[in-house]
Structure formats: structure tokens, C-alpha cells
């Protein structure tokens, strides 16, 4: 080599860099971005961990822009979503989950007050146009994402206004109309061609759409109520739950009996129950063969309505009869005077489904003046007879593709297995992406299989316990009917929630790896780390000891065997 002995054998500084200790390695650290559980659980596909990071640094606009890359209606979902992200949030196993729902609401509301525009340009004139039927959350989302992906969207809507059930059936005390309309207006302003007053089956046919457009997204919703088997006679003035709800939303008044029972366990039943209570019906009952939500309950057994809506209903004095069904109505003439209730549960039917089963000997009488079925909706076959073929819903795969019809897509309530707003929004996005692939003759995206990062993959020594903020809720006495029951969080509380986020599976630039490497083999670089972190491994010297992986708080570093 030519090195010569020095006087007294002194050595020059930093000459150890000649010796590449990286040759010692049998495993190396790599950055691995695993999906955070909130991202994995969000039906709309939001990556809450990503925008919470931006919120922590008070980059609210960037956070909102990140959010609306998946979900264009955060002020809506930030009020009505059942937030499975919070259930999945790893922090829930450490102290309390992040209030992602409230953060989303805050960002959605701020975007409206600040007048932020989507980072989406109108599609170019010569881009292909795609038809979207129905302007509920699924259809709006599909039209938005198609525009975002560079396609022109023609949004057909039977009613004069956009919004679907959001507009017609969600009570204002859950979703104020000014908020909803501002969100919809902004969405439609992205260059979507909105065609109201056009009903499928009456004003145009599916065949026409299929010949005029290279792809069609069908999201007309479920406009027909299920037939309710009341065990015999039906009253003269039987009202269907959803119709009553829509009427109240549209007009603001509702018939007030002295007592009423609603049959059903979904949001329609609960919303209607609360409206009746607010309107002055002294006794409001909800009868459902499902159970009330609670720890240890099987998800298939629990009422499909949103848990906090159920608890607010209970606060407001609604009585919920769980695991009950209506055996028969008690009529005097054609008027309802009571219900014969019986214990009822959904039990496995041997085909991986559930069958509603009654238990003889448990019958009781409930005296009410009216019974209102709210047992669910199916797709109205008008215009879709051939496609539906007497089935209640259109079936589709993960991307919303309708079987045997490569140019047809569906999502939201229409597909039967996705009944929430956030699922509908996710369906719209997935279908838009699949349509884009179709039009570019690419394969549709595969169903994601990556597992979310679990709590055990984090290093909790580096976090500190902190409480979750509580958003204000109107006292029961003030819930008069149209005032919003749930409030939002203050900016400082929202920023603090961003700070409380554990950053699961993603680098938070905490400097731990940089600080703890005994071999100075982790280098800090804001500009040059291409993988989303701010650190670069110097594999020339890294010995693969694994300390960085062990002590990474967010599980972003894993050790891989050397090839």
C-alpha cells in the first residue's frame, strides 16, 4: 500500500474511513414504509398518518391537500363517518386513539372558510368522457377522481340537487346543509359536467350510456325500501322509515304520535328515532335483532348504526330493544296499538350467512301508536333490470368492476356490501382508478395485501402518554332539531393530536437512528433521502448491529439479511 511508519507511530485524523466495516454485516437496516392501521382501515383510503404529520407541523393546507387526494368531502365525513381509523389506531392500545375524525372535520371546515381549492385541474377538452350515474358520495367521488386522473366526468342525477342521501336523508343536526352544499359546490366546480333532473330508465338508458361512453359508473343508490313482513296485517297509514326521514329533512316537520316504534338497527332507524324525540314524541322505541355496541360483541351481531349516534340517541331518551323482532302487529281496526315482540338473533345458517331466528316463549307486548319499518333499502331496478336480474344489489369486485361487464363499474349502497359514506367515497376512487387503467389498457390495481404495522413493531419507550381531547357535544336539553349536536376541536387541540400520532410505519425524523448508531453509519440528509425519511444508511460502514431498527419509535427500520 505504501504507508510509511511515522515518528512515534502517530496517526492522522479520520483515517479509519479506509476500513470498510460494512464487510462485517450479515444483515442490513432498510427503511420500510408499512401502512399505518388508520390508513389500512379507512374505507376511503385516506392516509391519516401522513396528514397528521403535516397537521403537527401546522401545515394545514398541505394536510388538507393530502387528505383530498383520497377523499374530496372531509367536512362531510369529518361529521358522519364511523371512523374505523380510530378503532384501528395503535395509540388506542397505548392510551387513547387519535381523534382523527375531529382532525378531518377541522381540515374540511378550514378549507371551506379559507376557500382552498382542490389541487385538481379540469380535464383537457380532448380527454375521454366517462358517465357517472348518481351524485351521492360514491358518484361524486368517482366524478372527482376521474377529473383528477385527467378524464371528463358527466355526472347524471335524478333530483335537482347533488348529494344523494347526504342531501335528502341526513339530518342537519348531523350534517349542516351549508357545509354539505359548500363541499358539493367546490367539488362540482372542478369541471365536472353536472346533469341534474336526469333519471336512469326514464330520461336515458344504460344501453345509451354504454354506447356513448367508454365506461360507466353506476351509483344510483338504493331507492327502494325492503318489503317488511309484519307477520300478517299492515296498518292503513304505514310509513317507511327512510321516506319519513327524507320528508322531515325536506320540509322540517313530522307527524308526532304519542308513541312510536321503529323497526331496524341502521342509521335511518336511529336518525328517525332522534328526530321523533326532538319533535316531541314522548315514547320512541327502536326494535332491532342486532345488539347494542359494546366490548366483546361480535361485529356481525352489532347494530350497523354508528355507535356514537346510538349513544346520543340513548342520551336523548330513545329506548332501544336489542335482540328483538316483531312477531306480529296488534291492530284495532286498521290502526296500530301495539307490537308483539319476541327475542330474535341472527344465527349462522350453515352457509357462512346469518338467519334471523326467533325464540318461542319470549313474547312480550309493546304498546305504541305507530310502527315504522326501517329495515333497509335495495336498488330500484328501473333502468337496471337486465343487470340486476332480480337481485337486490349489483355485485362487484374490489375495484368496483361489475362481473362480465368490463365497461361497467359500481360502488356505494348500490353494491350492497358497502353501506357507509366513507366506503362509498372509497368505491368512487377505486372505480375511477380502475376506469383509468381500462382506458389506458392497463391491468386494474390488485387488491392490496400489505399488513398494517402493529403496536408491537413500535418502540413505545420514546413516546409520552397524553390525553385525547373531547370535542364539545350539545347538552341533551339543547338538542332542538337542527343545531349541530357535535362540535369540533380548537386548532391547538388539533395540532396536539397531530403530535400525539405515533407515526406508525413512517419516519418522524426523530433523530433516534442518527443519535444511536455507534458507528456513525446513519447520516442525516433532508434533501437526499429519497424514501420519505431524512436519513441515509452508509452501508460502507454499517455493521448491521440492528440498534437503529430496535430503537426506531415508528417501526420504519427493519433488518434484512444480506444477499
Amino acid at each position: 500500500m505504501g504507508v510509511k511508519m511515522t515518528r512515534g507511530a502517530y496517526a492522522l485524523p479520520g483515517t479509519s474511513l479506509e476500513y470498510k466495516t460494512g464487510t462485517w454485516r450479515i444483515q442490513r437496516p432498510v427503511h420500510r414504509h408499512a401502512p399505518a392501521p388508520c390508513h389500512h382501515a379507512c374505507p376511503a383510503g385516506e392516509d391519516a398518518q401522513q396528514y397528521l404529520a403535516l397537521v403537527e407541523d401546522e401545515h394545514y393546507r398541505e394536510a388538507w391537500e393530502n387528505l383530498v387526494a383520497a377523499n374530496p368531502l372531509p367536512a362531510v365525513t369529518g361529521r358522519v363517518c364511523h371512523h374505523p381509523c380510530e378503532t384501528a389506531c395503535n395509540r388506542g392500545q397505548y392510551d387513547q386513539p387519535i381523534a382523527i375524525h375531529n382532525v378531518e372535520r377541522f381540515l374540511g371546515d378550514r378549507a371551506l372558510t379559507e376557500g382552498w381549492r382542490y389541487p385538481v385541474n379540469p380535464a383537457p377538452e380532448q380527454a375521454p368522457a366517462v358517465a357517472v350515474v348518481g351524485s351521492g358520495p360514491a358518484g361524486c367521488s368517482a366524478a372527482y377522481h376521474l377529473t383528477r386522473l385527467g378524464y371528463r366526468a358527466h355526472l347524471y342525477e335524478a333530483l335537482p340537487m347533488a348529494g344523494g342521501l347526504l342531501q335528502s336523508a341526513l339530518p342537519p343536526y348531523r350534517l349542516p346543509r351549508d357545509i354539505l352544499n359548500a363541499e358539493l359546490e367546490r367539488l362540482l366546480a372542478t369541471g365536472i359536467e353536472f346533469l341534474p333532473g336526469k333519471r336512469l330508465g326514464r330520461d336515458f338508458s344504460l344501453t345509451e350510456l354504454q354506447s356513448d361512453y367508454p365506461a360507466v359508473f353506476l351509483a344510483p343508490g338504493t331507492q327502494r325500501s325492503r318489503q317488511w313482513d309484519s307477520g300478517g296485517a299492515t296498518p292503513r297509514d304505514l310509513h317507511v322509515g327512510l321516506d319519513l326521514l327524507k320528508q322531515w329533512v325536506a320540509v322540517g316537520t313530522i307527524h308526532t304520535w304519542s308513541s312510536a316504534a321503529i323497526v331496524g338497527g341502521g342509521n335511518t332507524a336511529i336518525d328517525l328515532a332522534r328526530i321523533l324525540k326532538h319533535a316531541g314524541v314522548s315514547e320512541v322505541h327502536v326494535v332491532t335483532h342486532h345488539s347494542l355496541p359494546g366490548p366483546g360483541k361480535a361485529p356481525t351481531d352489532v347494530m350497523p348504526a354508528i355507535a356514537r349516534e346510538i349513544s346520543q340517541a340513548l342520551e336523548e331518551g330513545v329506548t332501544i330493544h336489542e335482540h328483538r323482532g316483531v312477531q306480529r302487529l296488534v291492530l284495532r281496526g286498521e290502526r296500530v296499538v301495539g307490537l308483539e315482540l319476541v327475542h330474535m338473533k341472527g344465527l349462522p345458517d350453515g352457509n357462512s350467512g346469518l338467519r334471523r331466528t326467533t325464540f318461542e316463549g319470549t313474547e312480550t307486548l309493546l304498546h305504541v301508536d305507530q310502527v315504522i319499518p326501517a329495515i333497509g333499502q335495495v336498488v330500484d331496478p328501473a333502468g337496471l333490470e337486465m343487470l340486476l336480474d332480480h337481485k337486490p344489489f349489483l355485485t362487484a369486485d374490489y375495484n368496483g368492476r361489475v362481473a362480465e361487464h368490463p365497461d361497467l363499474f359500481t360502488g356505494g349502497d348500490t353494491r350492497g356490501d358497502h353501506g357507509t359514506v366513507s366506503e362509498a367515497i372509497g368505491d368512487g376512487r377505486r372505480a375511477a382508478e380502475a376506469i383509468a387503467c381500462l382506458l389506458q389498457q392497463l391491468d386494474a390495481p390488485a387488491t392490496p395485501s400489505e399488513q398494517p404495522i402493529s403496536l408491537s413493531q413500535l418502540n413505545l419507550n420514546y413516546y409520552e402518554h397524553a390525553p385525547r381531547p373531547e370535542a364539545p357535544v350539545l347538552p341533551v336539553s339543547e338538542r332542538t332539531g337542527s343545531a349541530e349536536v357535535e362540535g369540533g376541536l380548537e386548532r391547538q387541540q388539533v395540532q396536539a393530536e397531530g403530535h400525539r400520532c405515533l407515526s406508525c410505519g413512517n419516519c418522524l425524523s426523530c433523530d433516534n437512528c442518527w443519535t444511536l448508531c455507534p458507528d456513525v453509519a446513519v447520516l442525516k440528509s433532508v434533501a437526499e433521502a429519497a424514501d420519505g425519511s431524512h436519513y441515509v444508511f452508509d452501508y460502507g460502514y454499517c455493521k448491521g448491529c440492528g440498534l437503529c431498527a430496535r430503537e426506531c419509535p415508528s417501526g420504519y427500520i427493519i433488518m434484512q439479511a444480506e444477499q
Partner: protein, 390 residues
């Protein structure tokens, strides 16, 4: 200027003239007066330096090692047990090529315990890699001390100035003490080329593998060998400044026709020179005063011995189980010469036994009788040995 000074006092003043920046002080008889005098000079502000009163000789040597490595001229002194205790550090100092001056006030080494003068202590560390210079009187001691800094700093080697304990350190002598201007002219400010400096951060004291250790040792060995020249030049130049020659490698005196020579180190030389006059009837004798023991000036010794039929090597140390130390090395240097003198090796004055003038005729008598042995202790009193002492 001429002053009557105790040896230790003179040494302290001479050290002060060299402007040391750090002095490490640990007392041990008979070096104590040196450090006490230095302390007083510092306390009176006559030497501007950091005086570190350490807690052992090991630390004394370590402190001055650290001080020089950090770029300050340093000084310490010790004797006997202290020299041995710090011996690990002495090897380290030399191997790391740290320029330093240390006064060894020669004293016998325990066991048994003795506080009196012999040269076993400095001889015990002759292989540490230091330059060793032996002084015959206190004038030589102060002149050698001043030259030692020059030699050390030019060669990047430590220098041990050996001064017989009590015999020199505690003796009053008239000393011609140079003045500060002379010394300043002779000794430039210390500028250590490898000093520890944040702007040029070297690593000193590394681990050297078999692949390179031999070369490191060779470098050290060569440096000490080459210092022979520097020692001579330093003496010459000091001679020009002071008007005094202290003999560089060795000093030869006595009649040119002498066929018998005596080689010795330290204060005994003075005794022998005086004895020559006291005993004029003794055979003509060449006195070879060996000043530089390390590096070993083999060439100069061979030259000094030319024409001798017999050479006595008289030393104040011995290697138990072997014999004389200096004598063995001198014998080796002379062997192979076509007309090498017969070498007679004796120790005297061990443990401070007085070496009187009549050592001279006793030496000559011993030569005449001849012992047939390679080595003997000349002033042994056999009656004092018990039957089972050995």
C-alpha cells in the same frame, strides 16, 4: 556568574533558566531539594510555570508526558524507587518520541532500602530508549541540563541527566551560572511538531501490529543512534556560548603515554582525577569520563582506549547474576579490535559507600594481582558477610 550553590539549588536555577512551562514535583530522597528549590522559585515568581504536585512518580512522568504532548516544555526529577515506579511511563515517553528532560538523582534501589548514591536506578532503565548523560560535577550538571533541552527538542527524544545523589545534589560547589540571555539565545521557544492541537488533531499512542512494529522500533533506535551527532553539536555550541566544554560524549584526561586507563561515569571521575595528583607514584593512568551512556558511543570509546593495555571499567551498579553493566557493554565494544586492552570490571561505592582517593592505588594493586574474574566489587569487605547471607 559565580555562585556557591548546593547542587540541587544550582540545578533548580538552571532548570528555571530553561523556561519550563510545566513542572511535575514528587519528592524522593535525594532529589527532594531540587523540587523544593523549584517550588520556591515558582512561589517567588522567578519561574513562570505550572507546578503540579503529583501524588506519585508514575503521575509525575505522566504529567510531563501530557504537558509536552500538548506543546509545553516540561521538567521533572526523581531517583531510585521513583525511577522504577515510573519506568513504564519512561518507555512510553521515549517510544512516543516526546522531548523531555528529567533529572535522575542517582540512588541505590531497594531491596534492601538505601537512600544513598549509586547508579542502579538509571542503569535499570537504560533500555527505555532515553538519552542518558552522566555528570561528574555540578557545573557539568547545570550545563548538561541546559544542553539536554536543546538535544531533546532537536531529536524528539527524552533526555535523562544523571547526577549522583547526595554526592553532587547535596554538595556545595562554586558554579558559574549562566544568565537568562545566554540561555534564551541557546534555547529557542519550544515548538513541538506533533503537539495536540484542535486545528491539527493527531492521534498519538496507537496500536501497531507486527506488520509495522519492527519499523517503529528501528525508527526509535536510529533516532537515538543519530543523536550522537546532536549531542556533540549541542556541547560545542554551548561551549561557544559559555566558554565551558562538558565533554559531549566522553572526556579523556591523563598522560598521553599512559597504558592503563580507567573508564567511569559520574562523580567518581573527579575523585580519580584528584587521586592522580595525590598518588604520583602510581602508574600513568588515562581517565576516561564517560558522559553519554545512551546512545552508547562505541566508536568514541574505542578511540579513547587506543594504545591501552589494560582498561578498568569502574561503575556504581551491577547486574546480579551477570556482573558489571557498563563493563559488559565496554567489553563488547572493544572486542574484535586487533589490540584490544584487557578489561577489568569493578563496581564501587554501592549504596553510597564512600569512594575515597585511595581507591586509586587500590585499583592499581588489584590490576597487578589480577583476580582472574570478569567482575568484582572492589570495595567489598568480606568480613561483613555472614555465612548464609548469599
Amino acid at each position: 556568574m559565580l555562585k556557591a550553590l548546593e547542587g540541587s539549588q544550582a540545578l533548580a536555577q538552571a532548570v528555571g533558566l530553561c523556561r519550563p512551562q510545566v513542572i511535575a514535583a514528587y519528592p524522593i530522597t535525594p532529589q527532594t531539594h531540587i523540587v523544593e528549590n523549584l517550588s520556591k522559585l515558582v512561589a517567588d515568581g522567578q519561574i513562570d510555570c505550572e507546578l503540579v504536585s503529583v501524588e506519585s512518580e508514575f503521575s509525575a512522568a505522566s504529567v510531563v508526558l501530557g504537558a509536552v504532548a500538548a506543546g509545553s516544555r516540561a521538567y521533572t526529577a526523581s531517583s531510585s524507587q521513583g525511577i522504577l515506579l515510573m519506568s513504564e511511563v519512561l518507555y512510553n515517553i521515549a517510544g512516543l518520541r516526546i522531548p523531555l528532560v528529567l533529572t535522575c538523582a542517582n540512588r541505590a534501589v531497594s531491596g534492601p532500602l538505601s537512600i544513598w548514591n549509586d547508579q542502579q536506578d538509571s542503569m535499570a532503565v537504560r533500555d527505555a530508549g532515553w538519552i542518558q548523560l552522566y555528570c561528574a560535577d555540578n557545573q557539568e550538571a547545570i550545563d548538561t541540563t541546559i544542553q539536554a533541552y536543546r538535544i531533546a527538542e532537536q531529536c524528539d527524544l527524552p533526555v535523562m541527566v544523571c547526577v549522583d545523589g547526595f554526592t553532587l545534589t547535596h554538595t556545595l560547589e562554586v558554579i558559574d551560572m549562566p544568565d537568562q540571555a545566554q540561555v534564551d539565545a541557546y534555547l529557542p521557544p519550544f515548538d513541538f511538531g506533533r503537539k495536540l492541537d484542535p486545528t491539527n488533531p493527531l492521534s498519538i499512542g496507537t496500536l501497531v501490529s507486527p506488520e509495522f512494529f519492527t519499523e517503529a522500533r528501528q525508527a526509535h533506535h536510529e533516532a537515538v543512534m543519530n543523536s550522537l551527532q546532536t549531542i556533540v553539536t549541542a556541547a560545542d555550541e554551548w561551549g561557544q556560548t559559555s566558554g565551558r566544554q562538558s565533554g559531549a560524549l566522553l572526556n579523556v584526561s591523563g598522560p598521553a603515554e599512559a597504558r592503563i586507563g580507567i573508564l567511569t561515569l559520574g562523580s567518581i571521575a573527579g575523585t580519580l582525577e584528584a587521586a592522580g595528583e595525590e598518588f604520583p607514584e602510581a602508574p600513568a593512568t588515562r581517565i576516561i569520563k564517560l558522559r553519554t551512556f545512551r546512545p552508547f558511543p562505541a566508536v568514541a570509546i574505542r578511540e579513547a582506549c587506543s594504545g591501552l593495555s589494560d582498561l578498568v571499567v569502574l561503575e556504581r551498579a551491577l547486574s546480579p547474576g551477570s556482573g558489571g553493566i557498563v563493563g559488559t557493554e565496554v567489553r563488547a565494544a572493544l572486542s574484535g579490535l586487533p589490540e584490544a586492552p584487557r578489561v577489568h570490571n569493578f563496581s564501587v561505592g554501592l549504596g553510597g559507600r564512600d569512594v575515597p582517593l585511595d581507591i586509586f592505588p587500590r585499583l592499581h594493586q588489584a590490576l597487578r594481582i589480577g583476580s582472574g574474574k570478569d567482575f568484582a566489587i572492589l570495595d567489598l569487605e568480606p568480613d561483613k558477610l555472614s555465612a548464609d547471607a548469599c
